[in-house]
Symmetry: C2
């Protein structure tokens, strides 16, 4: 891979990182775009797997519109519903079987991040001779994938244009991710109206997920990332402004549109260009939602402020910038740490304001398995997670304990 060669030239200093960026996913955004799904699918296939979750897409009429559009251009489809939040490996394996036995060569995901991640897992599993879980535990690297298309219903995960998929294995409740360019969907049809019916709590969880995708990239050791710093701040401010509006007025098209587009921009890797992200909070959260099946966004809302308090002294400057530029905190030039802490408090109180838990207690997570989670995500204490500050088992445990409430 070219990546290796490029990386040779760096690491000497704190300059902007060399990077590669390509996001070929075709975005079609706006009112009514779900009706174009047949036309878009037809470019790739005549026989697809229609993958979705429960009944919500039927309740809002989206299922009917999608089916009608597919039929109108003669695309046949086999249905595989039943994707749950924190999507399961067993359904992925079933989807792989269905695709193989029926000769399906395209997967259409109609749903949010869970449905899309499940579809992506199926897409790499079908052409692979071994078990798809191999890819998630780093036992194998995928060489090919079926194409995937998306009709997005819940913004947050950003999976509609990302290169990753997160799957939960019910055998041991490990929740693991796979990242490869093969996983970028071919297209994403995004109609903000479809999100009018997303309930307040899930709207807020989506917001925390979007903000976390930005913040995981924002807090970096790389210096001189002026443009991407500002693009990150722009995306955060958009979410902060529009989520309270969408909660007050669920059918406010403009607010829903801003949130939906922000979710894609936050996670298609543009905001990470030239920087090295951290991702420790995501790793810890995956233990949480793997074991307790809590919504990913809610877990992130609990953990992010606690992570921040654990690491902010490592680079007070970037936390001051976060406080001042994102939250409008007036900087305390005599005592920058105060400003840094004020920014963290602003984040926490924003999460509260939009109805999210900010403690493990509120999240309904008991205290008895914190140590187990800290061990699991650090390979029994033998490895470290994160990049901004490398965290060992004791660090993770401390972050979890400080999040108890």
């Amino acid at each position: 891979m070219v990546e290796i060669k490029v990386k040779r030239w760096l690491k000497q200093s704190f300059i902007m990182e060399n990077f590669q960026f390509q996001c070929p996913t075709r975005i079609v955004f706006g009112r009514g775009v779900e009706n174009l799904v047949g036309e878009e699918v037809k470019k790739y296939s005549d026989k697809v797997l229609l993958h979705y979750g429960g009944g919500s897409i039927k309740r809002i009429g989206l299922y009917d519109r999608v089916v009608e559009s597919l039929k109108s251009v003669g695309v046949r489809f086999i249905e595989l519903p039943g994707v749950k939040p924190n999507p399961r490996l067993s359904l992925v394996r079933k989807g792989i079987e269905v695709c193989r036995s029926s000769g399906v060569d395209f997967i259409l995901a109609v749903g949010g991040g869970s449905v899309i991640d499940s579809a992506k897992a199926i897409s790499v599993g079908v052409p692979y001779k071994g078990d798809v879980w191999d890819f998630y535990v780093d036992r194998a690297e995928p060489a090919e994938a079926l194409p995937v298309g998306v009709v997005l219903t819940i913004p947050g995960a950003g999976s509609e244009a990302s290169s990753s998929s997160v799957i939960t294995n019910e055998e041991d409740w490990r929740k693991l991710s796979l990242t490869t360019e093969l996983l970028r969907p071919r297209f994403a049809l995004m109609n903000p109206e479809v999100t009018f019916s997303v309930p307040p709590y899930h709207t807020a969880c989506g917001a925390a997920d979007i903000m976390s995708h930005v913040m995981e990239r924002y807090f970096t050791n790389v210096r001189h990332t002026d443009l991407t710093d500002r693009l990150c701040e722009a995306t955060l401010k958009t979410v902060i402004r529009n989520v309270p509006i969408a909660l007050r007025e669920p059918e406010n098209y403009d607010a829903r549109a801003e949130i939906m587009w922000a979710s894609t921009v936050a996670h298609n890797d543009l905001l990470g260009t030239g920087r090295i992200g951290d991702w420790a909070t995501h790793v810890i959260e995956h233990e949480l939602s793997g074991l307790y099946d809590v919504p990913h966004g809610a877990g992130l809302a609990v953990l992010f402020p606690s992570w921040m308090r654990h690491v902010y002294k490592h680079r007070v400057d970037i936390f001051v910038q976060f406080a001042v530029r994102v939250w409008g905190v007036e900087p305390d030039f005599q005592d920058p740490e105060k400003t840094a802490l004020e920014g963290i408090e602003m984040l926490k109180s924003f999460f509260k304001r939009i109805g999210l838990p900010t403690t493990l207690r509120e999240l309904g997570v008991p205290e008895d398995r914190l140590e187990e989670m800290a061990l699991r995500c650090t390979d029994s204490g033998g490895s470290k997670i994160g990049s901004f500050v490398k965290l060992g088992k004791e660090d993770v445990l401390s972050i979890l304990r400080n999040a108890r409430g």
Copy 2:
């Protein structure tokens, strides 16, 4: 095209526009990336047209590195140097002939916007039976194009990831543009070090071009474009901060890197998603640089503040936002127009500060053909240009006259 169908649902109100966005250009960014050019080209072709301008790429050693990289992977090439700023139709036609007669099926542009635009024109001309100029005067639409790759040397035009090409016809000195997704380069190799030798004046011209690409999109009649407003502001602020640094310290990698990446982000269409751009200033400037062969960025620096003063009353709110968020002007709540005008003055004085002309006089453009230019860009006064405010011949003339100085 899907575009037409999507557009049916809009236009009822001021909501965010439906949009499609896809920028498949692969960006490889950082120190040394020009040495990967052979590897990148090889994915597409074994025999390419090597298209460039004058001697500058030889002086800085870039030509040798590119040639060595091509040779190392066995890619043969035919050279076509000689691209001038405001690239000429005659050389495009010559390039088309060279490609046809030698069986070249890939065009490698090593240069700035002029070289890339010329390469793009050749790429659509080769497979077309008629004259390539047909595409620029809307007599025909291109159906196919040869693939184009880029090694970027001057940031500004954004052509490395854009869907457009601007060519000057020396027969009547018309400078016209063509926009189609076929024109997106397959890859762009961007090493900020290569731009260390860009002279101050051309660095500043590039900055004005980048800022103009953002501002053409920013000033829109579409409401509720919160995310893209902020992404635009982020990009402008990055340029405003880093260009003075690059002028003071031409070999400051960080500043050059920020400017280079901003140039791509400003014009790959992300910042236009959901909005309708204006582009009147670009149209007027094309008359200027078509007739007088002035650098595009310098022409824009002269015209943009004049255009702004002509139209700002149409939407004082967005000009206030521009002044406050981009330039840090303290808003005058009692008299918002004052704030709007202050923002325009800030832009003008920034252009002055970085060494650009802000009057036609300084640009060396005489007064005798202003009326002719106003007529030419409005189809002899029969049509209007722009979208934010539609401008007729008298408007254009007024903007030109107010820019005289």
